[in-house]
């Protein structure tokens, strides 16, 4: 004879006498209202949860494991402990070099993109004829294929017959050999990435500008504040939450720049545009060092994570939520 203790909805319990498997009738367990709500909630998010687990969490965990192996992506995968991390941090000169190139890119891309996006947002915030057309035009590159953009810009940068050098030549100067010069290749990449990426922050900043109550500006005008002071004392402070959001997201995406460089320079000339993710890609798919590439990915994760936390901590000094 079996005994079973069943939990009831009212929290009490009773003993059930089980007379054997053949005569037992199955009944669904009685759940509390809270438990039923939890289950319903989980059922609603289950399709997405499965996708997230299968295509995000799963691969992330596998890549973490892979980073401790010598996986070549094809056959072997032996545990090597911290070897990949140790080599990256202590013996890989290319790792440090690509990190510096990435910081160069980030330092050029973010200020230029944010500055230009703010300027464009301020322009597009004005009530002018045709302003919608300008907003669309500035946003258009964001929804254009990065490969197409990169190829067109490669043509613009052509040293002998490219429009850019033609323009420079019109002023009596010789344009550089943009993409084959170790000095100019990265600035060229930054120019393209700013042009390509400025539309998105512009739209977000525009939304931020539209959210600032007009009454503040009217009050400032009554007090005799100039346009510059209204911008400094009202616009910028009330835009800081938006600027903070954009700084974090732009930083993360800048650290992962790949497409433009892959198409335009492949990291050249002489590795002068070899950035972190491109190097990671080369380790994974050209050098067949999947374990090493995974370790690089996790180090990048930590770098981005640490800097994001720092940004988060520092926001109290410059972000105004009210």
């Amino acid at each position: 004879m079996h005994r079973q203790q069943d939990a009831l909805a009212d929290g009490k319990s009773q003993m059930i006498v089980d007379t054997g498997p053949a005569r037992r009738a199955w009944a669904p367990p009685r759940l509390s209202r809270q438990a039923r709500r939890d289950i319903e909630g989980w059922l609603f998010i289950l399709p997405v949860a499965i996708g997230v687990l299968a295509f995000y969490v799963g691969p992330i965990l596998v890549s973490l494991y892979t980073s401790f192996t010598n996986s070549d992506g094809l056959t072997k995968r032996d545990w090597v402990g911290l070897f990949n991390y140790d080599r990256l941090l202590t013996r890989d000169a290319a790792f440090r070099e690509t990190l510096l190139h990435t910081l160069y890119y980030v330092a050029g891309h973010i200020p230029l993109t944010m500055g230009l996006a703010l300027a464009l947002a301020l322009l597009c915030h004005r009530q002018m004829p045709g302003v919608t057309l300008f907003r669309t035009a500035y946003f258009l590159p964001v929804v254009t294929n990065v490969v197409a953009i990169s190829l067109v810009w490669s043509f613009f940068f052509a040293p002998d017959r490219g429009p850019l050098n033609w323009l420079i030549g019109a002023f009596g100067a010789d344009g550089p050999s943009w993409l084959s010069s170790t000095t100019w290749a990265m600035p060229a990449i930054i120019i393209v990435s700013v042009w390509f990426g400025v539309g998105y922050p512009m739209v977000i900043l525009l939304a931020g500008l539209q959210g600032i109550p007009e009454v503040y500006y009217e009050a400032a005008k009554v007090d005799g504040a100039s346009a510059w002071w209204r911008f400094r004392a009202i616009t910028i402070p009330l835009l800081t939450p938006t600027l903070f959001f954009l700084t974090i997201t732009q930083f993360i995406s800048s650290f992962q720049v790949f497409g433009i460089i892959y198409v335009m320079t492949s990291g050249g000339p002489a590795n002068s545009t070899e950035v972190y993710i491109h190097q990671l890609y080369k380790h994974a798919f050209q050098f067949s060092r999947m374990g090493y590439a995974s370790a690089m990915a996790w180090i990048l994760f930590l770098i981005i994570g640490v800097i994001s936390v720092l940004q988060w901590k520092l926001q109290k000094y410059w972000v105004h939520y009210d």
């Binding site: 996986s71 070549d72 056959t75 170790t182 590439a293 994760f301 994001s308």
Partner: protein, 444 residues
């Protein structure tokens, strides 16, 4: 009434976004190669058709004609797999397919990578099939046939043929400048490196056209270092030494760079880094001589090189050789239909397939006898077509190992500094030698 357990704030959302963004830096690197059980299961599926992946578009090519001929002759269907293009795009696709066990039955593979994939046991050993079907290696040019023979004794790819590199030159430009044409055989008379520079100078019109273009072809490193007396070329025979850093190699690379930097007869680097940019300069008659493989012939013909042009051997110095690119195909170990793949490869490499390739001027087939049919027809360019066939006797190959590709990915970007004059060949090549030889030793 809904229950809200956690207060959603703007800070929460921003924090979540930051975390998600950082997490997206992680790759989905779940590559451990397909399991044997997966491979066996795949082998049982769809045994009727043979899937074939090339790195070029197939439509209208000689390769497509050969496959159509096979289908007609055998009645076996062949499925062409679309490809993203040559270079790293193709290699990335191949590696991903190999890792996922979804690779086609036959894949085109860069001759540089045959040794690597073979060492990873990704290519089927064809030796048992060769023996079973009584194929005689004597029917094929020995250097091409033996290329796919691995140190383990396995035979892991089929080299259908070779695309030798020659100098394509604009005959009209030579005539206009009153310069004698280069030799139509492998003679060095009037065709040494010094002669070449003088001819290139005579063809150059400043600001309008250049006399020569060599350094944008990847075969220049091996060809010109060998011709400068470096018998083994870039790597030693056992693949452990980086010989390009030896004086003859350094001198050859510097000579190539000086065509631009010193003699001003070659386009600057920035003009020839895009795909086909050098070829197009030749078609536009802005370059008088260009160093290219046999496969470029059809590119010139298809893309409007409607002036008189011909081919000549590379200029001679201590030696007179040229590096060819081998046309290699392999049957991956994960192929679903290896038997069908083998039948198609046998046809392509055999007498019938080789004749189609030879007639189409695509490459010099490995199958002996076919090469004799490589001649110019009815005044077509180039008139000295048979030079491609005779180039087989002047062939030089890079000594590949499973580590040479990684070595190349390190030293070749550094050559940009030589091509642009930012460093000398000696500084660059001797500077990277130790690192390259560590890579070649397999150390990591």
């Amino acid at each position: 009434m809904s229950v809200i357990r956690h207060r959603t704030t703007r800070r929460n959302i921003l924090g979540g976004l930051a975390l998600a963004g950082a997490a997206s830096a992680l790759p989905s690197s779940a590559f451990a190669g397909p399991r044997a059980s997966t491979r066996r299961r795949l082998a049982l599926q769809d045994a009727a058709s043979t899937s074939f992946m090339n790195w070029d578009a197939m439509e209208g090519t000689v390769t497509e004609a050969a496959i159509l001929a096979y289908q007609e002759q055998s009645g076996n269907p062949v499925e062409i797999i679309p490809t993203p293009g040559t270079g790293t795009d193709y290699e990335t696709k191949v590696r991903t397919m190999l890792a996922g066990g979804t690779v086609p039955d036959i894949i085109r593979t860069n001759d540089d990578f045959v040794r690597f994939y073979s060492s990873k046991e990704q290519f089927t050993d064809l030796q048992p099939l060769i023996e079973r079907d009584g194929i005689s290696p004597d029917d094929f040019y020995e250097p091409i046939w033996n290329f796919a023979k691995q140190p383990t004794g396995k035979y892991t790819a089929v080299s259908l043929g070779n695309q030798p590199r020659l100098i394509y030159y604009n005959v009209d430009m030579f005539n206009e400048a009153g310069i004698p044409l280069p030799p139509k055989d492998w003679s060095s008379e009037g065709w040494t490196w010094d002669d070449f520079v003088e001819i290139a100078k005579a063809l150059t019109v400043e600001g309008e056209r250049w006399g020569a273009l060599i350094y944008d072809d990847t075969g220049c490193e091996q060809t010109f270092s060998v011709n400068n007396g470096l018998a083994d070329g870039i790597y030693s025979e056992d693949g452990t030494q980086f010989l390009l850093a030896e004086p003859q190699g350094v001198e050859a690379i510097q000579w190539l760079a000086d065509l631009t930097l010193k003699h001003k007869v070659q386009p600057e680097r920035g003009l020839v880094t895009e795909a086909n940019s050098g070829n197009n300069l030749f078609i536009q008659q802005r370059v008088g001589m260009i160093f290219r493989t046999m496969g470029t012939r059809n590119y010139f013909r298809r893309n409007g090189a409607d002036f008189n042009w011909d081919v000549a051997p590379p200029p001679a110095k201590a030696d007179h050789k040229t590096e060819g690119s081998l046309i290699c195909y392999a049957i991956p170990t994960a192929a679903k239909n290896p038997e069908g793949a083998w039948e198609l490869l046998k046809f392509l490499a055999g007498a019938d397939g080789s004749k189609i390739f030879a007639d189409g001027g695509e490459f010099v087939p490995a199958f002996k006898g076919s090469a004799e049919t490589i001649t110019a027809e009815g005044g077509e360019n180039p008139a000295s077509m048979e030079l491609f066939a005779t180039a087989m006797d002047h062939n030089t190959n890079v000594h590949f190992t499973e580590y040479t590709e990684n070595a190349r990915n390190v030293y070749r970007p550094q050559l940009d500094l030589v091509w642009t004059g930012e460093s000398t060949a000696e500084e660059v090549l001797t500077g990277v030698r130790q690192e390259i030889e560590e890579i070649l030793s397999g150390a990591f």
